[in-house]
Symmetry: C2
Subunit: 128 residues, 2 copies
Amino acid sequence: MSVQKSIKPTESELEILQVIWEKGSASVREVHEALSATKDVGYTTTLKLMQIMHEKGLVKRDNTFKTHIYQPAVTREKAQKQLLGKMINGLFGGSSTQLVIQALGSHKSSKEELDQIQQLLDDLKKEA
Amino acid sequence: MSVQKSIKPTESELEILQVIWEKGSASVREVHEALSATKDVGYTTTLKLMQIMHEKGLVKRDNTFKTHIYQPAVTREKAQKQLLGKMINGLFGGSSTQLVIQALGSHKSSKEELDQIQQLLDDLKKEA
DNA sequence: ATTTATTTACGAAAAGAATCGTATTTTAGA
DNA sequence: TCTAAAATACGATTCTTTTCGTAAATAAAT
């Protein structure tokens, strides 16, 4: 197994990845449209960012057509895992449990969500 | 209740806070010593960073003596909460449950930890 | 008291991110 | 074909973060 190249999207890049993950694939315009909903940003800014992301290998690009279509080159799960690990080490003294507790405590979850977690917890207990 | 001023330590600032939280309080030299263990950085760089952090109000400072002593002005918990929230929104589509699941799944916890989480989960269920 | 070591202050450069204007390319429609 | 609209390319600017050199202040040691 090769050593995992560590990805490190910036804040803005993460916002963009967010949209692309959501849609599966997207053009600059689509991404820009989505971003515009919540923040004020110019079209070319989004474009430039996405070009940079392409250079960095964060996204793939199909330029068969006039309008380029972008796809994630990194899975959401991988990004989550990576950043989560970093956060656990950097802020929670290496304890994922601490993180879980903090996360659960500082945000009320619905019954459904609690059940879902309970389910997972049961599974983990069985394994142990 | 006043509106919470959102703290936003940078990556480097977080490393420093880390050390100060750990020790409770620390001089620039102590912090620098700690950082040097894992990365290559100049003393004045650490100093400058800590001065900036002081300006920003991230740390408090006792300059009664020649060697200034720094203390956190923000609790670790608060920083955790804040960054966690950001991560939940930025990477987990706003679902803390998703984050919990990912965190639990990608790292095996001890029985004690699982029990601890179960405890918390029971409490949350009662409230609901 | 003088020298030496330690520390802080400060400015400025280097590096990294984000922003946008303008020019060029491409395509679709008139 | 010509024109207009939509898209990309790219340089330049601004803003933030990180880095460090140099000078001044302070304290300790000789």
